[in-house]
Symmetry: C2
Subunit: 326 residues, 2 copies
């Protein structure tokens, strides 16, 4: 199958790498809003075109992967491209998913295409585990922990503080809270009890570090509800020790069974990711394979990970899957 990529940032590059790891896939083209001359990709012989050119290539691309941001790009792009292509995006603004789904569904159905929105790990693999957990253990409680990992939004917030030259923020799950959940005691956990926030900050020369620390710790929405630590380091240290984009987390379902609900079960799904965008890309690419096969089975319209039978994700046949992985 032939894939196209719209947007060549961290995620787009991750898609390119993931395609290389799947023998049944080929990268057909990368589309960018930048000057294509300035965009150098890794795959030899694959063209980079201006975004406007994508529609001309609609017959040469089986699935188009949209790698824009959820704030402004995807709400416009996915519904537009779904008129011409089978598409996958990683739309992650949870509150706006219903609206996005409706828009994309209408565009895809009207044109006989299939679309999958919100692929990745949260939304995505974490959502799947919430669903499986709730369906299997209807009487129970859900817990989602994030980290340890870099939060782009919180890192951006740090960098906007006066006197800050650069910075990175890690979201860290609290180990004792995780253990309490794993014990089956179904604790009620406040925001502060679930996660801490670790900041690594490069201050501008002569900046007031105490003031920076106070400003970060008291920042509403971002930090004030958490126990936050602020560490000042050099730009060199930041580059050397904090240039990766690791992330991960835990989805835990704790539930009861038995006539008197006497038995407790803990279902835990954990991700430990060296590269958030590359793992997200790997999920997206598997779902691109899935929707292409679903389209061949006659399905159209907008889907989410909830609508995809797992077998569609694999290049193996049903027989092979039953013989090797069941």
């Amino acid at each position: 199958m032939k894939l196209g990529i719209v947007g060549y940032g961290n995620l787009g590059k991750g898609i390119e790498c993931a395609i290389r790891q799947n023998d049944d896939m080929e990268l057909a083209a990368v589309f960018t809003r930048r000057d294509p001359e300035t965009v150098s990709i890794l795959t030899e012989g694959v063209p980079v075109y201006p975004a406007e050119k994508a529609v001309e290539m609609k017959d040469q691309i089986d699935v188009l992967i949209l790698c824009g941001g959820s704030a402004t790009d995807l709400p416009e792009q996915t519904k537009e491209y779904a008129k011409y292509f089978n598409v996958v995006d990683s739309f992650d603004t949870h509150a706006r998913i219903p609206e996005h789904f409706a828009n994309v569904d209408a565009a895809a159905k009207e044109n006989g295409n299939i679309a999958l929105i919100s692929a990745g790990w949260d939304p995505g693999m974490f959502s799947l585990n919430r669903l499986y957990g709730n369906a299997i253990l209807p009487e129970g409680k859900d817990y989602t922990f994030w980290g340890k990992g870099v939060s782009q939004g919180h890192s951006d917030a740090i960098r906007r503080v006066e006197g800050v030259a650069d910075g990175k923020q890690y979201t860290v799950p609290v180990e004792s809270a995780l253990e309490a959940v794993r014990s089956g005691s179904n604790p009620d956990l406040s925001t502060r009890e679930k996660h801490t926030r670790e900041c690594f900050v490069v201050a501008e020369e002569g900046a007031d570090k105490d003031k920076i620390t106070e400003t970060i710790k008291n920042m509403p929405n971002y930090f004030s509800d958490y126990d936050t630590t602020v560490n000042f380091i050099t730009e060199e240290e930041l580059q050397k020790n904090h240039s990766g984009i690791p992330h991960g987390g835990f989805v835990i379902r704790s539930g009861k069974t038995g006539w008197e609900k006497e038995n407790t079960h803990i279902v835990e799904y954990r991700l430990k990711l060296d590269s958030n965008p590359e793992f997200t890309a790997s999920v997206i690419v598997a779902y691109a394979r899935a929707i292409f096969a679903m389209k061949q089975d006659g399905m159209t319209g907008c889907k989410t990970v909830f609508d995809v039978a797992p077998a569609y994700l694999s290049p193996l046949s049903g027989e092979e899957l039953r013989a090797t992985l069941l």
Copy 2:
């Protein structure tokens, strides 16, 4: 939806309890090969019938749950009942799944029914996690660990040893092996390195305990490939401390991404179950809901967990799922 149960052992009782936890389900009848007069179930007002009577009730049961054993019951029962009912079983003889699938598929298709085989946690939820892990991280390695939990087969093997009055065996994953896998080092692990076996044995009066220990530790297939410990306890201690049927385990996918495969990702799925049969029953009941809905969508024939889009498992609508769990 109305469910029937064939076979009222630990699993059948677990199904009965699980049905009670799902508002959209009702137990219609229990069928047994024993004298129905001797079988006392928990749900008031639900009849217990001889197994032969099941077919007469085919229009009053939406899905029939088959709770027999995989060795001899299910290979005969599932394909037979699939002629008259939508059915779910927990067939767990991995090597014979392809043959069982083919038999059940033919019977179900011919009669316009739908069947789901091998529901539970392994096969079942563990299989799903192997599939998702392989599809997302095609270059990597799978690890499955079982326990800590009671192995019925190994407990039976202990009890057949001369001089043993009673006994229970726990399969225990080796913590250092788990940690090595979680580190991303992709270790090659021998059988002995992955699990240990803990036996709790009640000896008959005057029995030679050293001989029992040696016989157990050297038993081929069951114990000789493992580090096994044998603890002698009283029947009272066995009843008090070892009467539960806990189990669980881990499925871990360790994979690489990136242009030069420079990034490592660990996906870990863990179950910690107080009651193996009740959790298995909870999975089965969710899949009963799923296949009943799939049948209404026009699907027939034999399915496995790989073929079921996750949304079918939930009583919630697509809109509700997207708004609450995605």
